[in-house]
Symmetry: C2
Subunit: 112 residues, 2 copies
């Protein structure tokens, strides 16, 4: 993409992927769920600083994007469990690429 | 990262990489420069909708992040040429990973 005249059509897919990851909370939530299904309160406890309102909004967004699944355990009391989906786990390669580049970037920019 | 208990320390490098790519204009600018060095006006013409003020700001930011280099061609009239650096080109792998995942995401979410 950067080794030839870039194709603007590729930008749409890149933007889609960026949108899914953007913001402060989505990755911490996915990481919290990567070790197993959790209830709302368990996720909330494992992520410092997130409000219930924000967590509810982000969970909804991740669910709509098919990255997590919500399973109702008890309809009466609205208890549910959240599980990362296969599609959610498929972000692994993206995260690895971002991580490797981010580390190198840190070396380049701060190392100077 | 998503296949085991995620390490919060990794988040910093991932966030660094995301920060560099975020926003509407950085990628189009890098793509515009991927085919060769360009002057301000040439970049401006190749990116629809960007204002001069925004382009100047983004070029400065990309330069500070060592993704592009600014070479003064004529100090008197402030003419300069912008070139993507090796570090800028090293984003290729990140873009490929984002592109591949974004395409699959589109299939998953819109294909339903």
């Amino acid at each position: 993409m950067l080794n030839q005249e870039g194709c603007p059509g590729n930008m749409l897919a890149i933007k889609d992927a960026m949108d899914v990851l953007e913001g402060r909370w989505k990755l911490p939530i996915l990481i919290a769920l990567s070790s197993g299904s959790k209830r709302f309160r368990q996720i909330s406890k494992s992520i410092e600083g997130i409000s219930d309102k924000m967590l509810a909004r982000e969970l909804k967004d991740l669910e709509l994007n098919l990255l997590i699944r919500r399973d109702a355990l008890d309809e009466a009391s609205l208890i549910a469990e959240y599980t990362i989906t296969e599609h959610g786990r498929s972000l692994e390669q993206v995260l690895r690429a971002l991580y490797a580049w981010g580390q190198e970037h840190r070396r380049q920019v701060i190392g100077k």
